[in-house]
Structures are given as C-alpha cells and as structure tokens.
C-alpha cells in the first residue's frame, strides 16, 4: 500500500502528487473503436441527411411561426381533448419550441455521428503559482508598498481609513426615506365606536336577524369604501388591517372570556380576519366545529372560545371586535380593536 494514496496530514500540504495506480496499474486509454458512420460511407451520408432534415424542418417551423402570428386570430381557441389553448399562442410556441429542439438535436446528432470521436488528452497544470512567480510578485508588492510609504506614514493611513469608514454612513443614511417610521400605525385600524359592520364587496349593512346559526360574513367597516375614492393606497392599507369575519354560533356553545360578556349579540361574534401568524386573511370557517383555518399555514382558531389557537404555527388568538347594534338595528363596533391586529412584531409587548 503506497503512502501516496493516503490523505496527508493537515500541516503537510502536497499538491497533485497523487497517483491512483495502485493496486492495478493504469492500462491507458482503451483502444478507440470506430462507429458505423466512420467505416460505412452510406451510413455517414444517411446521418448527414438526418441532420440536414432536422435543420431544414426547423427553418420551416420558424417560418410557420411567423405565418401563424399573422394568420391566426388572437382570440381563437384550440382544443384537443384535455389540451386547450389560445391557438395563436400555441402555434407560436409549438413552432418555435419544435424548431429550436430540432436545431439542438441536429447539432448533437452531427457531433455524435459525424465529428471525429477520438478522445483527446489535455494535461492539467497546478492551480497555484510557481515559486518564481510568487517571488516575483512578493518582490513587486513590497517595492510598491515601500514606495507608497503606506506603512510608514501613519497619519495618512489612519485618516484615509477613517474617511473610508465614514463613507458607509451616507450610504445608509440615504436610504432613510425608503419608508416612514412605524409610529403607532400597527396599533390602529379604522374601526371606531359606532362604525357599521358591512359586507365586503356589496357594502350592505347587517342586521342581527339576517344571520342564522352557522353563518359566516366576510365584512369590513362602513368607513372603508369612501377612502378608495380619495386614495387607493390608503384604502388597501386600511383594508389589510380592518377586514373582519362575523359568525353566528349557538350561544350555548360559546365560552366567553371574562370581560367580553357583552361583545357579542345572541351568539354573533366578530373577529379580525387577519391571521396573527403572518397576516393571511382567514375565512375557512367550519360551522360545525366553529373552527377557522388559515389556508397559508393551517393555523386553526376556535371562534367559540375567543379564537384560541388550537393548531398550527400561530401563537395568539385572533383579536375580537366588540359588537353592538345601532338605533336602526344594524351591527356596529362598540370600539376599535383592543389590541393590534395581524402578525406579531417586536414592540408589541
């Protein structure tokens, strides 16, 4: 067993000195064997024709793509059983795709069948520099360093390093206006005392009598839609925090948290729709179990039990919105949310 084949010790660096000739000596390259196309001119001609046919077909397909682009109406639909598609688009894609594939296949076939297939040997060279090169470079560097006086002139060196260090500051400071500071914005929503709970999309207000046991309403505050006219951005930002779900559960099944006795109306409860995990809107409500599931990460909350987390990665219950009924008999908020909605954040406490 030759020592050369062992991994050498860490402190003993050896480069490329390893032969793997043991236990059997390298017999050298296997003898070259000829392909049929090498010895049979007819086979070679056949291969040539194959390759040329592929190239020609590719060209024709590219032309076909251009014809299809203009000739096929842009809204025509193709249908072959389960395969459907926009006819213009699919023709373009099929022509281009097949054409490109044929060019590639032709080139590969050419290389495999007709180009010389004798293996060639190329020698490797060490990755590192030769000792002469090293000496040369070290000498040059030292000379340059000495000429600059960088090592000697401490004042220059230090002031340069300091100023370069300070250059980092404006680079960071300039990014300051990327966004406003959070302030209290994560704590507030547009819900407030007396704001009506209305249907998302249709904006219709809701009466308690409209809701039956097992009901789910995807809702939002009545003061949300007017914002859209003024500022679509503000609208989206407000909606991202204010969306709620309203459900009606048999009052007997509800376990009310102390202090929330008057937050619901005959089993009608309202919770934030924004998951306390990472903020997906949740409305996968199972009326039989009164569980609501987040489709993003499967956090499950029990709405009959103050939206307690019963499964999944969320750590906090969904915030509950205290409900009341206004003079006209519609559902309104008693107040805003009593805690921040949505995902956790460091300063939340």
């Amino acid at each position: 067993m030759s020592d050369k084949n062992l991994p050498v010790k860490a402190d003993d660096e050896q480069h490329g000195a390893v032969e793997v000739a043991e236990p059997i000596a390298d017999p050298g390259l296997e003898p070259h064997e000829y392909r049929i196309t090498d010895i049979d001119p007819k086979a070679a001609d056949r291969a040539e024709r194959q390759v040329a046919t592929m190239f020609t077909l590719a060209g024709l397909l590219f032309l076909g793509a251009c014809v299809g682009y203009f000739a096929i109406p842009r809204d025509a639909i193709l249908e072959f059983g389960p395969l459907t598609g926009n006819a213009n688009n699919m023709t373009l894609g099929l022509c281009l795709g097949l054409g490109l594939f044929l060019i590639g296949a032709g080139a590969i076939q050419w290389a495999k069948q007709l180009m010389v297939d004798t293996e060639v040997i190329e020698l490797r060279h060490d990755a590192n520099s030769s000792p002469e090169q090293k000496a040369d470079i070290i000498e040059g560097f030292n000379e340059g360093a000495a000429e600059s006086g960088f090592g000697r002139r401490k004042l220059i060196r230090r002031s340069l390093l300091a100023s370069m260090g300070l250059l980092g500051l404006p680079a960071i400071v300039l990014l300051r206006d990327l966004g406003p500071l959070p302030g209290r914005s994560l704590y507030n929503t547009i819900w407030a005392k007396g704001v009506r709970v209305v249907n998302d999309v249709t904006d219709r207000p809701i009466k308690p009598s409209d809701l039956v046991v097992g009901q789910l309403v995807n809702a939002q505050p009545a003061n949300l839609t007017p914002i859209q006219e003024e500022s679509p951005v503000e609208y989206q930002n407000a909606k991202a925090k204010a969306a709620v779900i309203v459900v009606r559960i048999e009052p007997a099944k509800i376990r009310t948290k102390p202090g929330r006795e008057n937050w619901g109306i005959d089993g009608i409860l309202c919770y934030s729709k924004i998951c306390t995990h990472v903020g997906c809107p949740i409305s996968l409500y199972e009326q039989t179990t009164h569980h609501v599931l987040c489709p993003c990460h499967q956090s499950t909350f029990d709405l009959a039990d103050s939206a307690k987390v019963i499964f999944g990665p969320a750590a906090r219950p969904l915030p509950q919105l205290p409900l009341a009924v206004d003079a006209e008999g519609y559902l309104v908020a008693q107040s805003g949310f009593t805690e921040p909605v949505g995902p956790s954040f460091w300063e939340r406490g």
Binding site: M115, L123, R124, A127, P281
Partner: protein, 559 residues
C-alpha cells in the same frame, strides 16, 4: 494541447476581420488556449448547462416582458380582453400582466416560457449541486467555485420569489404578505425593516416598482457576475472527470471544444430552449387571470410559493405556535426558528460543506478525479440526509394538497412531519451509508472473483458451482482508481521537546469525526490481495473440475 500535428507555415494569417480584432485584442492568444479545450463526456456534466441556458432564456424572455409590463401599483380600471375581470379596479402591474397574457401576441407564451425557465433554472442548479456533492467535485481546488455556485442558487431563489411577486395577483400578493409578516415579526428591527422595504404599511404602493428594479437589474447583474466567475474557474481548473483507464489526476480526457463541444453544448442550448418553449406552449403555468387582483382581504386555498420556496413554507407550516412576551417585547419563535434560524443554518452548512469535510478528513490535496458516491459512504449518507430533510419540509409546504390527494388528515400530515424532519434524515443517512457499503462490497467481489458467468459446473462428486469470469483489466482499474480512506489521527500529546500540542481537544474531536467519516468504508484490496484471489479462484476452478485431492496438492501454488 498535446496535439503536435504539423504546424501551419509561419506566414499563415487570420482572415481580415479576425486579424483586425487580433491586432487590437490579441484574440488569437485566447483562442490558441481554448479553441481545442478538452471537456470530458458524461451526461451528469451537462446539468449545470441546463441552469446556464435557462438563465439565458430568462434574460431573453424577460426583456420581452419588460416591453409591456408596467411596474406600477397605480390603480386603474381593467378594460382588456379578459372578460371575467373587465371593469375591476386593479394595479397597472396586474392589468399589464393580463395584457401580456391576452392582448400581446406571443405574450402568454413568453410569460409561460419565462416562468418555466425559472422553475428549471433553480431545479437544474440544485441537481447540478447534488451531482457536485455526491461526486466530491467540490474538493480542492474547487471549493470557491462551490461557494460561487451556491451563491447563484441563493440569488436565483430570491430572484424567482420576487418575480413571483411582481404580477400583483392574489397569489403573489399573498406570498408577499407572508414575507412581510415574517419580516415584521423579526426581533428588534422587524417593524422598521418592513416599513423601509414596503415604503410604509403593507401593501402600500411601492413594492412592485421596487421589486421590479431588484428583479430585472440588481439580482440578474449579480448572477451574471457569478456566472462569469463560475465559468472562468471551470476553464481555469479544467473539468473534473470520472476515474477510468488513462484518466489521471494530471490530465483531462474528452472531446475538444471545437468542434465536438461547440456542437454538443451549443445544441443542448437549443434543446433546452426548445423544451422550455414547448412547455410554455403546452403547460399552463401561473394563470394570473384566475387568481384575480390582489386584495388584502382575500385568499385562496392552495396558496403556495413556487417549488423552491416550498421547503421554507413547509418549515413555517409545521412549526408549533410559540411566542414569548417579556420586557415589553414580543419574540415570535414560531417564525424565528423556522424562517430565520433553520433555513440559514441549513444553507450555511451546505455552503461551507467543502471546508467542513476537508477539515474533518484532513485531506488537503487537489482532486480532479471524481468519487463514485458509493466509495465515500458517509458523504453519500450525509447527502441523502440533507435531501430527506429538504424533501420532508417540501412535503410540508404542500401539506394541504397531500391531505386532499392522498385522503389523509391535514393535521396528521403536519404531526407526522414534525417528527419526521428529525428522524427521517437520520434513517436516510444510515440506510444510504449501508447501501453504499454493500455496493462497495459488490465491487470488491467483482474485482476479486470476477463476473458470474451463468455457467454452472458440476463436479464429479456431485457438487455444483458457478464459474466466474474475471473482469477486464480496464474495468478492474476503473474499480480501484480511488483513494483509500484513512482517518485523521490525533498526534502525540506532546512533541519531542515535551511541549503540549496546541488545540488538543479540537484535534481529538476532529480525529473522532474523521474516524466516523471513514468508518466501515470498504478499503480497496491491495495488489497482493487481488493476485491472491485470482490464483485462488483459478485453483478452485481446477479443483472443482478435476476433484482430486492429490492433484490439488501437487498443483503448484502459482497460477
């Protein structure tokens, strides 16, 4: 080039345009070295090319898309030709994506090619990474190229994820919402980071335009730099090759760039482009029109990221919900662990693997001959463990679809994964290492006793045996052309002068790891052992055919 064919006469001159360039750039010098550069021929060496070509396709189709895509979140009323969304308020980004899909001829095709190419880009990088890992191609001198490649994979994943967020449809918005939630929940700076990235509260109206710049300029630029570096290093180090007759650590055997690899690799580019285009034509991907415009109060079942983010999604999904509240702050372990600790730890481990392995084994030599995975059972086992860990998290990312398609409970899938991510990799490591060792034994059997010929011989005393035919010298060389694995030994406690060796504890750990690393690997036989086995085998044949003890005894002990 070792080719020393008769040189062209010294008066030979380039054709005029090449001469013009050569006079100014010296292109001849570059060409001389590289025109006939040798690449070894093996299918597994083409995997990285798939990634490179997908990247080129991404740039080409991406440029096409930018001609019509409007990276703006300004709200407009959609009046394009997709009737199911007509009249809805949506961002310009989403509306222009719909226009590309329905009103620009070839637009849908380009979008779909772009998306499929992205899927393939990252998949190919990952397959390429696995090939590099299992064959040990990352060893000296290629550790840095491993890191460069890893950097591209990392950037590619971010690039893909941002691209997924650009159309501003319901799915992409949901993905960004999740990302924003994770950023916001990061300790200390989370809230500020989120406000700076999104220009205020989520969703705001900045994210698409900001992410667009990152997607089309910053990250592609960085990837381009890394691609260049990666390819330069491949050329500089020359390609690795599998062991075989005539292939040594000092040469590279294969076909020259001009003409064989120009045709093969160039042809492969067209094949990759062709396949991607066919996928774009036939397989619908990311039908943004079905998702509808992003609305922070809407969500869809099956909200998943593209496949390469799936493992992260899975890691977040299977994490139980923990959160600490102390000193007036909130620490979200349910995000910190699965999103901010485990993935970076995993990724760092993969990125630094070449250095870790070389430290453990003490192997500091250059390697250009690749390992067969079976010959390094522990590394192969580690690779299998990593794949298993990744794969289980991946399943976690699609746990809802697993539940509906395999008729199991969503909760049970999640509970199973909570344990499996720890046990699965251990099991995979152990099983794979055992399989590798068995394969090594099979190789040894083949080497020492030859092939099973299928010929059964019956001896005069009625015993049956199968005759073995020895394998060719070429194959025998190929089977033995690898290193012996010898563990790192911790040196004596004190040197000759009685000075205690430094870092004794660390080196002890290292020796232990090294023994673990090489434990149980089958060492290839020595020349003497092979000789012995062959003569023995020969004897046996004779023995069985003649069956006379006397003859056996008088047979010379030589073959």
């Amino acid at each position: 080039m070792s080719d020393t064919k008769e040189k062209a006469p010294a008066t030979a001159e380039f054709p005029p345009p090449v001469k013009w360039l050569d006079d100014r750039l010296g292109v001849g010098k570059i060409g001389r070295k590289n025109l006939r550069k040798v690449f070894p021929d093996h299918w597994s060496f083409m995997l990285g090319e798939i990634a490179l070509y997908s990247f080129i396709i991404l740039i080409l189709t991406g440029i096409f898309l930018t001609f019509w895509f409007k990276p703006s979140m300004a709200e407009i009323e959609y009046q394009g030709s997709y009737s199911l969304l007509k009249g809805l308020h949506m961002s310009e980004a989403y509306a222009s994506t719909l226009d590309i899909s329905f009103d620009i001829r070839g637009g849908l095709l380009m979008r779909q090619i772009h998306h499929w190419a992205a899927v393939l880009f990252i998949a190919a990088m990952m397959v390429h990474l696995l090939r590099t890992f299992f064959t040990g191609a990352f060893r000296k001198p290629r550790e840095l190229n491993w890191v460069v490649g890893f950097g591209m994979l990392f950037l590619g994943i971010i690039e893909g994820f941002i691209g997924y967020g650009l159309p501003d449809d319901l799915l992409s918005g949901t993905g960004l919402r999740i990302t924003q939630g994770m950023i916001q929940a990061s300790p200390v700076i989370g809230t500020y980071l989120s406000f700076f990235i999104f220009g205020g509260e989520f969703p705001g109206d900045d994210m698409v335009s900001r992410f667009f710049t990152v997607h089309v300029l910053l990250i592609p630029g960085l990837i381009l730099v890394l691609v260049t570096l990666h390819l330069f290093l491949v050329v500089y180090h020359k390609h690795t090759q599998y062991a075989g007759p005539g292939r040594t650590e000092k040469n590279v055997v294969g076909y020259p760039l001009m003409p064989v690899y120009m045709a093969k690799a160039g042809g492969f580019f067209f094949v990759v482009f062709g396949v991607t285009a066919l996928m774009g034509a036939l397989l619908q991907i990311n039908p943004v029109w079905l998702y509808g415009p992003y609305n922070p109060a809407e969500v869809t079942a099956g909200s998943q990221p593209d496949w390469y983010m799936g493992w992260l999604e899975g890691s977040v999904r299977i994490m139980p919900g923990f959160e600490s509240h102390f000193w007036g702050v909130t620490l979200s372990w349910n995000l910190l662990i699965p999103a901010l600790l485990i993935p970076p730890a995993f990724v760092t481990l993969v990125a630094l693997y070449p250095f870790i392995e070389s430290w453990i084994t003490g192997d500091k030599r250059e390697h250009h001959i690749l390992d067969r995975p079976r010959n390094v059972p522990t590394r192969t086992g580690i690779g299998a463990a990593f794949i298993t860990f990744y794969g289980l998290l991946w399943i976690g990312g699609g746990n809802d679809l697993v539940a509906t398609h395999f008729d199991v409970s969503l909760n049970k899938v999640t509970w199973f994964l909570r344990f499996a991510v720890f046990l699965g990799p251990v099991l995979a490591f152990w099983v794979t290492r055992r399989i590798a060792i068995s394969l090594q034994r099979a190789d040894e059997e083949r080497l020492l006793h030859g092939l099973e010929s299928g010929i059964i011989v019956r001896s005069p005393d009625g015993g049956y045996s199968e005759r073995h035919t020895p394998i060719s010298n070429y194959e025998a060389y190929e089977l033995t052309a690898h290193d012996r694995l010898v563990p790192y030994e911790v040196g004596p406690e004190t040197d000759d002068n009685g000075v205690r060796a430094p870092r004794r504890a660390l080196n002890k750990l290292r020796a232990k790891l090294s023994h673990f690393y090489y434990a149980d690997a089958v060492q290839k036989p020595t020349a003497a052992e092979i000789e012995d086995a062959h003569s023995h085998g020969h004897d046996d044949d004779v023995h069985e055919l003649t069956d006379t003890e006397a003859f056996h005894e008088v047979t010379p002990d030589k073959h």
